[in-house]
Symmetry: C2
Subunit: 196 residues, 2 copies
DNA sequence: CCGAGTCGAGACGCAACCGTTCCGTCTCGT
DNA sequence: ACGAGACGGAACGGTTGCGTCTCGACTCGG
């Protein structure tokens, strides 16, 4: 994936530093030192700290793959949640992901990478799961896909990514049940009160 | 709430800086300058940047109050989600909250404040909603409260806090329907595959 | 076997920020 | 009216990180 040993060492060091101190306090000096490299080796590859982060994050983000088709919505959802839980439990990822998401709120270039590369990949997989379920007849054709995607990502990210509570297989099974119920839940016809 | 005009100005400036540059790059100099105050005025009140942030965050966190009892689970949930959406839509909060949550993963003192003060307040309200629903008979007595809390917080935080998508009242209504469905959803008896 | 290019290491000037200290001013309570 | 104390502002020496640059050592293609 990475061209040579030095680039790989710098990449690994950058992610470790990113997890240790966060994007805001990330320094090129610390990355180089951790990689056992000189600062020149870094600047020979990227013009700035931000370019380095964006490039390396993009590489690992686009690496993820695989799309499960277990034959049932619940099976697909469980597979999707398990993969997400595993990723978010990774000691480096669990610190880096929330940090970059927060940085994205004030750094447009970082936000673009996260939404287009990282988010886009997972989003496509999630959308495919819902589409398959609709074609199977497991979900009504007018299912709200946007809300469905929120339920595929939100509760898991909240518990594992934010509260840092581990997710054992049993709990994942229960979560999958409830996520499926939420996605399949019909919408009540409630008048939205207008506020003059 | 705040003792005097200077302290209030420093507090406001700190939250603005926090939203602008994040916790990692927050500097006492910038806060003082934005507040139109000298650095000494800050150090006369708090011994360090971290103490300042923790103290000020604690103050605004413990300020929030009110617990709705609309008579139905769905009404309570909608009220809870609306309050959360409003808070997360606030231009300062929407940047500060994700940033502090990320910082909490590597700063135990910050994490403690967020969990005990901020999270604790909202958590109590959410737990009260579920308990009331159980007493009304709207939920079974063996409802999984932990998972329920995840659904009350996760999807909303994901969409509004992370993706920064606004939540109009109609969407909030739909979200409330699905959150209630998830909380009320029964758990299937699936054997958890053991991995030897 | 030799020169081009990269390597780790680190010094460079510059800028920012740390926490402290000292101004001269202004606002109180007495 | 006066003194205590907090005020905004600025400067202090020290530390850190920036991005550039130079060094001698190494590797490798020709």
């Amino acid at each position: 994936m990475l061209q040579d040993a030095v680039t790989e060492a710098i990449g690994a060091a950058m992610f470790e530093e990113l997890a240790a101190v966060g994007y805001g306090k990330l320094t090129v000096e610390a990355v180089a030192k951790r990689a056992g490299a000189g600062k020149a080796a870094v600047y020979r590859r990227w013009p700035s700290k931000q370019a380095m982060v964006i490039d390396l994050v993009t590489r690992v983000a686009t690496t993820t793959a695989d799309a499960p088709d277990t034959g049932t919505l619940r099976g697909d959802v469980l597979e999707f949640l398990s993969a997400g839980a595993k990723a978010l439990t990774h000691p480096l990822m669990s610190r880096i992901v929330p940090d970059l998401l927060a940085e994205g709120s004030r750094n447009p270039e970082v936000a673009a990478i996260l939404l287009e590369q990282v988010g886009g990949t997972r989003r496509k997989k999630a959308a495919a799961i819902l589409h398959r379920a609709i074609q199977r007849g497991e979900l009504p054709v007018d299912t709200d896909l946007e809300l469905g995607l929120d339920f595929l990502a939100g509760p898991l990210y909240w518990r594992v990514g934010i509260l840092r509570d581990p997710m054992d297989p049993e709990r994942l099974n229960h979560l999958a049940d409830k996520v499926v119920a939420a996605i399949a839940a019909p919408i009540s016809n409630v008048e939205v009160p207008s506020r003059p």
